[in-house]
Symmetry: C2
Subunit: 166 residues, 2 copies
């Protein structure tokens, strides 16, 4: 599967307001993917897709990304079982970013799925205090209820990574 | 203002689960910024921030980005008046992306603000049909109620851009 799955880039008007999908892949061949909970809108994670991952996501309705840390296709949930089923896929005006509205398997009664390899529901589980210029001493605050699973139990020994891994 | 506003990058554990803000700027000096409506969670736009834009956003509580198309600081709303006031700023596990939960000025009674330079509320106003491999003929569907303002009236003659401009 290659870029020819998509329409060629046309005029600005065609790209920004037309009916064709003609993604703007960056120098690394990637678009930005923002994944949100389809039901409550929580931003779960930000990752990237190459043409193949985007095409597979569209075809299967299950989220596929390109792992920059591992340099390969990444079907989310391969290791953890936490697959992401798409309810909707959106594309932005200049077509260099997509939004995935997804559902994930519950981790137990009343417990949502978890998108972050740290065990948190969302990768964005810390907030930055506002209203003063940042300093190295600035202190982040945790904005969720903590881990929903133990990463060591799911993944084994922690590895260095620059992206969520499951 | 420079990177010294932020803590140095530490161990993976410190970065991913610690209390310090130590952003991972990419080769262009940018992090990814995802901006969502603070009230209903709608993803409004995806843009980028350099260290200065991130520091100004934290200090002022008003969204600042780095415009890649114009190569300079971009205080959203400069041209349109559609400033974005932060309710919360979140950072992800590896600290290469932030989520801005914002409020924008209403464009009229019962009309929300609009974050997209096309006049739509969100840049993500088109959806991609799922369930079949994409082809160049794939047809996007508009998923909102249309433009909330006339871009020509706000910006004058359209310009080529790779990012929302106001």
């Amino acid at each position: 599967m290659t870029h020819t799955s998509f329409a060629p880039r046309g005029s600005t008007a065609e790209i920004e307001e037309g009916e064709r999908l003609s993604p703007k892949f960056d120098a690394d061949g990637l678009v930005t993917a923002v994944t949100v909970d389809a039901d409550d809108g929580t931003v779960l994670m930000v990752a990237h897709m190459d043409a193949r991952a985007l095409a597979l996501t569209i075809e299967t309705g299950v989220a596929h990304y390109f792992s920059r840390s591992r340099g390969k296709l990444w079907k989310k949930g391969e290791e953890s079982g936490q697959f992401q089923t798409l309810v909707e896929l959106r594309v932005d005006c200049d077509q260099d970013a997509v939004v995935l509205r997804v559902r994930m398997p519950s981790l137990g009664p009343g417990v949502p799925g978890a998108a972050c390899h740290t065990g948190h529901r969302s990768c964005f589980f810390r907030s930055v205090p506002l209203g003063a210029a940042p300093t190295p001493e600035l202190k982040l605050a945790v904005n969720d209820e903590g881990r929903l699973f133990d990463p060591a139990a799911v993944y084994g020994t922690p590895k260095k990574t620059d992206a969520p891994r499951f």
